[in-house]
């Protein structure tokens, strides 16, 4: 227990120590003050010819066009991998629905995987298809955050920056250099990196063991840094090739959260008021620590149904790897669901019920507990709008944020996004139950079956990508509707926040007066956290009561299914 908490504390300290300087560096990247690759950047953007400053509308059009083209390219690669090179195992092309689901999944930074990597994807698909989108979907989210920060900070301007420039800088100055370093470190620590497809071994007992292998280290680095989460192998970072040591586990967890945390500081710097960024950092931090504590407590208590047969010291080890132990798995589960990363190093389906519920709730809050790269910050800003609106109602003043009046238009747009998670989870999930496709895909009986379904649609809408993997999602129905949920959960948040940023950019900030409600400091952080929890709880408590809570009660009563 003590050793566990020490590992968690060390993680928090190193994470923040890395995120602060990175965040300030990223702010300089987006203001154009980092220039060590300026010739490359100029050549690229010159050839692309994407024009100068863009209004929020044009910015959105560029973003959507770029994502649509990336989707089309990836879809083609996946469907025709059988006739393309670098397919050492001779895998077939993907079915239309699996290709649609996977292409949407990687373009929306979700990396939900309805397939098992080592049994489905050629090396070309993994590298040229998936790794490319790991970079570009991350860069899209980061560009969005930069544009939104400019809008919030703007003084009567009609533009929010240039998408092509922001996206290019995100790759060249942030994602690519960090990935190069991390991939080499990962390779040095034992992750394979080869173009071979598999190796045959003869085990000590004389059996044949075929070991799948491939360019793992390069994909793993960007998978974590870009909050993508799509594994090379079916079991993701539980696979010893994706995560051979406790130190790779630790570095991976740092990579999962470092850019999302850094964005709080990037934001503070870009709007010229670091206290605002700190407030967001603190609110997210409170939620992360609370989620981790609940997850740890539930898993450490172990499974009472197995208590007669299992030494109690290690807690629940079903679906976990010995080298990480309980703490390395629980800390990962908390960060990956909070960060919209979705890579897993333990099977979430086998988490004890309340631990599984925390993982779900982390996503259902809207993936704003640091969240995905860029989009975690912008998602949190939507809650900030709602919070200042509520605070304004309470004191009867026009709400303000950063000295700008928050008016009906902004509040309506922000409130609209509160509907996205319920539509994706409750409406689409309910539809699957109504037509019977949920029942045929769940693995476990009893309340856990419902949890598997809720988890799948939550993960897709939250663009997380982790799964209760007993759920068979690779059917035409679920591939299609989970794909739609991912699109809704991506662009349904992006466009409103970009519109709000565009609108705020045109306003002139008023100097604070005695009556201004400050959006930094403890009172605001408490209000913000309360708003997030109330919205999340009101929306999902009934569904969670039927799934994980009912299962917890059953488990304590000694009932199995």
């Amino acid at each position: 227990m003590q050793a566990d908490l020490l590992q968690a504390a060390l993680y928090a300290v190193v994470l923040v120590a890395l995120a602060v300087p990175l965040g300030l560096y990223m702010a300089r990247v987006y203001t154009g003050d980092v220039t060590f690759l300026a010739p490359v950047e100029k050549t690229l953007l010159g050839a692309a010819g994407g024009g100068g400053e863009q209004s929020w509308c044009t910015y959105a059009v560029s973003l959507l066009l770029f994502n649509a083209a990336g989707f089309a390219l990836l879809l083609a690669i996946l469907m025709f991998q059988n006739v393309l090179p670098l397919n050492p195992q001779g895998f077939d092309g993907l079915s239309w629905h699996l290709a649609f689901n996977t292409a949407v999944s990687f373009v929306t930074n979700t990396n939900w995987q309805s397939y098992g990597g080592e049994t489905t994807m050629s090396n070309l698909s993994q590298m040229v298809g998936l790794t490319t989108q790991n970079f570009l979907s991350a860069a899209t989210g980061m560009a969005l955050a930069a544009a939104v920060a400019r809008g919030f900070a703007g003084r009567q301007v009609r533009t929010v920056g240039n998408f092509w420039t922001d996206m290019t800088r995100s790759v060249l100055y942030i994602l690519l250099p960090l990935s190069l370093v991390l991939a080499v470190v990962f390779a040095a620590l034992g992750m394979p990196q080869t173009l071979a497809g598999s190796v045959d071994a003869t085990t000590l007992e004389g059996a044949k063991q075929t070991i799948a292998i491939g360019p793992v280290a390069s994909q793993l680095a960007i998978k974590q840094l870009g909050t993508n989460g799509g594994g090379f192998f079916n079991v993701n970072s539980a696979h010893p090739f994706e995560n051979p040591l406790a130190i790779t586990n630790y570095l991976s967890m740092l990579a999962i959260l470092v850019i999302p945390v850094a964005f709080c500081f990037t934001y503070g710097r870009m709007i010229g008021d670091r206290r605002q960024g700190l407030a967001l950092f603190a609110a997210m931090g409170v939620l992360l620590v609370a989620g981790f504590a609940a997850l740890y407590a539930a898993e450490h208590a172990g499974n009472p149904l197995h208590a007669a047969f299992v030494e109690p010291v290690t807690g629940n080890m079903e679906g976990k790897e010995q080298r990480f132990g309980l703490i390395g798995s629980v800390l990962w589960a908390a960060t990956t669901t909070a960060a919209s990363n979705g890579s897993v190093n333990a099977m979430h389906d086998s988490l004890t019920p309340l631990a599984g519920m925390v993982a779900m709730l982390n996503m259902q809050l809207g993936e704003i507990v640091y969240g995905g790269v860029g989009v975690g910050l912008t998602g949190m800003l939507l809650f900030v709008i709602i919070t200042v609106f509520l605070a304004g109602l309470m004191v009867g003043r026009t709400p303000e944020y950063l000295g700008k009046k928050i008016e009906a238009k902004e509040v309506k747009l922000a409130a609209l996004t509160l509907l996205i998670m319920p539509i994706g989870v409750l409406v689409l999930g309910g539809l699957a139950i109504a037509v019977g496709t949920a029942q045929s895909s769940v693995q476990d009986a009893g309340p856990h079956g419902l949890s598997e379904l809720i988890y799948a649609y939550t993960s897709a809408t939250g663009n997380n990508g982790s799964a209760f993997a007993g759920f068979n999602a690779n059917t035409p129905w679920h591939n299609t509707f989970l794909g739609l949920a991912m699109l809704l959960g991506r662009f349904g948040y992006m466009l409103p926040i970009l519109a709000i940023a565009g609108s705020l950019g045109t306003k002139m900030p008023a100097p604070p007066t005695a009556g201004t409600f400050p959006t930094h400091g403890t009172v605001f952080v408490v209000l913000l956290v309360a708003t997030i929890l109330i919205v999340g709880a009101l929306t999902f408590l009934p569904a969670l009561a039927l799934g994980p809570i009912a299962e917890q009660v059953s488990m304590l009563a000694g009932t199995t299914f």
């Binding site: 590992q7 050839a47 692309a48 994407g50 024009g51 059009v61 770029f66 098992g116 080592e118 790794t131 490319t132 790991n134 570009l136 290019t168 190069l180 390779a187 034992g190 992750m191 394979p192 990196q193 003869t202 007992e205 059996a207 063991q209 075929t210 070991i211 799948a212 680095a221 079991v235 539980a238 696979h239 010893p240 130190i247 586990n249 630790y250 172990g302 197995h306 047969f309 299992v310 030494e311 290690t314 629940n316 679906g319 790897e321 010995q322 080298r323 132990g325 390395g328 333990a346 086998s350 693995q443 476990d444 309340p447 856990h448 949890s451 993997a469 299962e551 488990m555 009932t559 299914f561």
Partner: protein, 200 residues
């Protein structure tokens, strides 16, 4: 129009840069600097690849230490249309994904524990790993098997226990992860023990 051009140019350039140049550069570096690791940390005995030190393998004989239960499956060698249990299938990783309230999980845990002996057993020996390929067991899980292995090999238990002692890996840097024993490496070392004599 300019937007479409920018889309096509940047998508093409970044596909080349991040989808081809980046993984190939890492492959080049890894194969040059860490060739053994790049190829999967394979273990050879007398010129034959016997496995990877990172990937667990199935041990069923009493003469070897056993790894953790594995939930992987594979194609039935007698009937390719069927899928059968195939522990440590390193071409198709998976966990059991069974629910905490699963009846079949509770039964499996009970059966595995009872096979090991009366009372409570180390958690790693009765629960399936996440990957189905976990190369490690806990030190307690290794010590729990010493008697069986020693008897099967007609070795003194003390000699086998000493061997396990020498194979326990502590937490990395003294703080990260859990103490563990690599089962394949332990069994390779076991095969090298002189028969009978060492522990007398």
């Amino acid at each position: 129009m300019s937007q479409i051009r920018a889309t096509l140019v940047l998508l093409a350039v970044f596909t080349l840069l991040t989808g081809i140049a980046y993984p190939l550069a890492i492959t080049g570096i890894a194969e040059a600097v860490f060739p053994a690791k790049a190829k999967g940390s394979l273990v050879e005995v007398n010129g034959t690849v016997v496995g990877s030190r990172l990937i667990g393998q199935s041990f069923t004989s009493d003469r070897y230490f056993h790894g953790r239960p594995s939930a992987t499956s594979g194609t039935d060698p007698n009937d390719p249309s069927k899928t059968v249990e195939q522990p440590y299938n390193a071409a198709a990783s998976t966990g059991s994904n069974l629910a905490p309230t699963s009846k079949s999980l509770a039964e499996a845990v009970a059966a595995r524990a009872q096979a090991l002996g009366p009372g409570r057993q180390p958690a790693d020996l009765v629960t399936a790993s996440g990957s189905g390929l976990d190369p490690h067991i806990s030190p307690a899980g290794a010590y729990a098997q010493v008697e069986r292995v020693a008897t099967a090999r007609k070795l003194a238990p003390a000699a086998v226990r000493t061997l396990v002692d020498s194979r326990v890996e502590g937490r990395e840097f003294g703080i990260l992860g859990e103490p563990r024993v690599n089962v394949l490496e332990l069994n390779l070392a076991l095969d090298k023990l002189p028969p009978g004599g060492a522990g007398s």
